[in-house]
Subunit: 279 residues, 2 copies
């Protein structure tokens, strides 16, 4: 007899990881290596595999209905596992009805508009699951830390972002916001890996080391962003990200939960099959 597989319910995952809306938020209290939800790594693997399969099934129904969409926002420091999450949570997901948008430094064309313009443009279309690898939160994170914008303008953005996300959720977009919370030491390990493995070297960017030196500033910016933008309509979930497998398993639970909450059913096109003769 094998041991019992222990998979936390989606509700438990939410309760444990949420940054409660309207409450003070202390990032330092969140353990980046927390194993409370998946004590056993093998359980996390099993859960991830199951959820990835269910996500793929539900996504097809979402695609058929074409009325709502899911937007998964992944934020985190370099090496926190944004790409890895996309690869593992959506490993069994066909690209049909999927959109991945990686936000880089804005182009001159994008800078000629307000910071949410390019984000709105990238919102997944009805019936799709969209993933943001970074997002408009960069405009209150790196932009704030590196002072790319006037502090007074940045200060206004939290409420603007909340209004924007409320607009989206009221228009059929379910938002799942995940902060991939990696520890400083674990980032050091992963940056070293990038330098020592040929197929990871391309990901190494010397500028990442500059961000690393500003770690406390980034953590403070994340803390503020999460506290001010964790809302009832689009709460933030703080994902312990030192363990890759557990991180992905937890995010998969949240994505599955968002899809299940929609109570998706194959659409009825309102036609009577007997009326049609194929010939």
């Amino acid at each position: 007899m094998g041991k019992k597989i222990e998979i936390p319910s989606i509700d438990d995952v939410r309760k444990h990881l949420i940054a409660p809306p309207g409450k003070k938020f202390n990032l330092a209290e969140r353990n980046t290596a927390d194993r409370a939800l998946f004590g056993d790594k093998e359980d996390a693997k099993t859960s991830l595999k199951k959820d990835a399969a269910v996500i793929n099934e539900l996504k097809d129904v979402l695609y058929a209905i074409k009325k709502q969409s899911v937007l998964v926002i992944l934020q985190g420091m370099d090496t926190a596992g944004k790409s890895g999450t996309i690869k593992s949570v959506f490993a069994n997901t066909t690209p049909l009805g999927m959109e991945v948008k990686a936000f880089k430094a804005p182009s001159s064309n994008e800078l000629a508009r307000d910071y949410l313009w390019r984000v709105h443009n990238a919102v997944p279309q009805k019936g799709h699951v969209g993933i943001f690898d970074r997002s408009h939160y960069e405009d209150v994170l790196v932009v704030k830390v590196r002072k790319f914008a006037d502090p007074a303008a940045v200060e206004q953005r939290y409420d603007q972002i909340n209004a924007f996300e409320k607009h989206l959720t009221e228009n059929g977009v379910a938002i799942v916001k995940c902060m991939l919370n990696i520890g400083y030491a674990e980032q050091g390990v992963r940056l070293s890996e990038r330098l020592s493995e040929a197929h990871k070297l391309w990901k190494f960017n010397p500028a990442d080391l500059e961000d690393r030196r500003m770690w406390p500033d980034f953590m403070a910016a994340y803390e503020t962003a999460v506290e001010r933008c964790s809302t009832e309509h689009a709460p933030w979930y703080i994902i312990p990200a030192d363990s890759r497998t557990r991180r992905s398993a937890l995010i998969a639970r949240l994505v599955r939960g968002a899809l299940e909450d929609m109570h998706l059913e194959w659409p009825d096109p309102g036609l009577n099959p007997a009326d049609y003769e194929i010939g």
Copy 2:
């Protein structure tokens, strides 16, 4: 001992399926149920699985290099298997670096531009694999058959399309054009399936029956499009599509071939790892 698995080489698949550039093309000579390349369905399954895995690996290197892209164009009558191809050939492909664009009837905004405007806009970005579910070929297929445009204007489009595709290939986009060649009888079977299965009914569109009644006109339009637009830089491949498994296996061979022709290698960012101290 199991039987020997017989997988045709990518070169053999190309030679067998190509519509030779500059030659007269007779669509009726192409057997929609051809099994010359994959006699045994199990071999097709094995080949598809292997190729899907290799495609996923090569796609990651393409993504890392960010200099070239692959554009897979899927054309075919309703039920020919365009969505099914995307789901099976890219079953093991993470959505990172994938773009699927389904072309529908053009919007008023798109109609306000020339017919290639929206197509150019949807070309996959460098490092990505893009899939067109339908394409600019609709502008010489349904548009021609249903006379949505002036015949003289349509007549000019073949050369325009060739010039456009030449431009793309010269700018790093490898184009794989697949006509999913399904038989009239097999389409009848599949349309009936859509009417009788709850999870397929949403795909049934009474307008498809109108296209079915114009089958000979569509076949003539396909024949002309393939003959005039099968070029050295972007040849057409005619995929026997009555068997779903063989169809996907053949297309997977072609997609893998396009990626292998690029001789992709992990990029060298030109930095010396020893120069960096992670700290």
